[in-house]
Symmetry: C2
Subunit: 403 residues, 2 copies
Amino acid sequence: MTLPAFSIPAAVLQAASPLARVRGAEGGVELTWADGRQGRFSFLWLRDNCGCPECKHPQTLERIFDILSVPEDLEAAAEIDAEGLLALRWSHDGHLGEGHVSRYPGAWLLQHREETAEGAPEQAAGAPPPPRLWGRGLAAVPAFDYETVMGSESGLAGWLTALAETGLTVLTGAGTAAGTVARAAERVAYVRETNFGAVFDVISKPDPNSNAYTAIALKCHSDLPNWLTPPGVQFFHCLANEARGGDSIYVDGYAACETLRDEAPEAFELLSREPVTFRFRDDRDELAVRAPVVTLDAEGRPAILRFNFAIMDVAPGGLDRQKAFYAAYRKLAAIVRRPELELRLRLRPGDIAVVDNHRVLHGRDAFDPASGERRLQGCYVDREALFSRLAVLQRSAAQPATL
Amino acid sequence: MTLPAFSIPAAVLQAASPLARVRGAEGGVELTWADGRQGRFSFLWLRDNCGCPECKHPQTLERIFDILSVPEDLEAAAEIDAEGLLALRWSHDGHLGEGHVSRYPGAWLLQHREETAEGAPEQAAGAPPPPRLWGRGLAAVPAFDYETVMGSESGLAGWLTALAETGLTVLTGAGTAAGTVARAAERVAYVRETNFGAVFDVISKPDPNSNAYTAIALKCHSDLPNWLTPPGVQFFHCLANEARGGDSIYVDGYAACETLRDEAPEAFELLSREPVTFRFRDDRDELAVRAPVVTLDAEGRPAILRFNFAIMDVAPGGLDRQKAFYAAYRKLAAIVRRPELELRLRLRPGDIAVVDNHRVLHGRDAFDPASGERRLQGCYVDREALFSRLAVLQRSAAQPATL
């Protein structure tokens, strides 16, 4: 293990101004950087984040320090040391005895200061690029050559960055060999198995256990909303597409949510709060969760959309609750159905559509299975595994940190 | 597929009183059962839940009906029909033309009515048994014979019911063959692979990427809080336990949360709201999420605990926020550390401890790897897959529903 105890993205490190001053604050310190930025940090927070090998295991980089080994009123003598680090000598320390010294790089502290009048904190290490909504008029689906993505780290990074930003990409030139979809997925991480198996064939089947396995039209939806965390990334590899119909439709669900929030804020609020049951049933499984249609993140932005006519089970009981729910739900459904928000695409054999299933809704036109073959192979990868791969790729592109 | 369109647990069906009366309500109907219970349901909710084969696909049982095919002011003529079903003849219906009739069993409606003065609605189909908290004094860990669980449906159902209720069980007599843990897990569902692999060995390793792979003591914690949904069920199969030390410790985290809520409600509230970053880093991965320490369910009960000293990364910036966070966090940590809440256990070779990782925290004493072998094999299964298996087992025990 060669990772630094404090992870600092290269961009933060390069732009970081030196620490200029430290002074006491009530229960902590106030720091000033040379460029005038300021931040205040509590002693217990600082103590808990000591990066020395006695407090963080030097191989695992996981914390060993026990937060209950120090008193609530822990204090420290603070200075900027000769290397420009914040150095704290602790007043008492149950773990290591009095006089333990912790040191922190100014660039790392910049990432973790509070938001102030001078602006937001630096982006923390490993944070994915923020989504770029494409409510209307995504000119074209970002497309990447399969072999380039499979064969180079820069190709992989370019594809995954676009996927994080746009939520929808196509890999082209992947051929039509069955099983290829798992190789594409494993370029990100291992495949996430579900009740549909690890790799599944999206074809019209004689005894379907999902509407996906029929030839009927599927309105835009997200997959597997009946899981605590629906799969984050879905792969659809087109092996054959000769049937009449069956064009693919995509809608940026985050953009649809923001449109709803603009047009009917009370409907958006209700859909982010009112729990609904989503349920899949077949002979082997009965997989159900209760969750709102829109799960928000800690900042109140849409994070996970559960939007699926087919397996939404029942909304809560009670006349007034049901009336309010359906009024809001129909508003979102009508926005998702607006033609100007739809991106339509006919997948060609050898294309792999890769979709952020927490964000982008997908659907298809009905097709006529008698008119030709239509066969997709699909699989899923967890969303945090996508961001992990991106963070590691960014890490290898970054210069080594000094601490 | 032989499942009924409306799923009704046997207990609900048996106890259900017949529908006695229907009358109009504003935008819906008011129902009265023969035993006096009442419920009100909106027309749109009822229309959306029509179970006929034109509205729900007869094979997939997934919805085909399009909620936008009917107007907001949809109405119906309602009656109790000769079979005792609620029958609704719709005023207009874009999907099926005027005059479509939907029928609903009274027992199914009983499950979905609102909570009233006469009590809560019946438990919905497939709902897991509610947890029984064991804050102090779980007399013994519920133990089940491995062969019985593997060999009989009733043995499986007994074990899984105890796991859902208590969050902690031991399978005994599983032998010490490597790989057995995956067979136990697959009795519930497929194994959930993570960055640690599908099946992992918990031993002291020369180049560990987790504190679990050292010999140091591990305070009680939950695993993989750095995932959007941490694994719900964890299996630890004891293959050898000859080293000095290494006893296992378990704490009911839901009970610890309720204790915190009693003693310091503001601390509980903060920990259920304030997002913290949890992060795992090694050469291959950088898996991070922001989430509160306690994720609540829709009813405000603790659902997922993220409590892990080792890989909690950093709490939010800002002196006041940090002080408030650490004050609350230390209160919870101190409760988790109370000896009277701990259940201590020495796993024997052939034991498989099975733990609800959203609820029950686990830890171990330090051990001396020079004094003897200590080897556990672990793997994970998703929590919804556990509840799915239980629901299907209950289904096969239930009498066939009439609709």
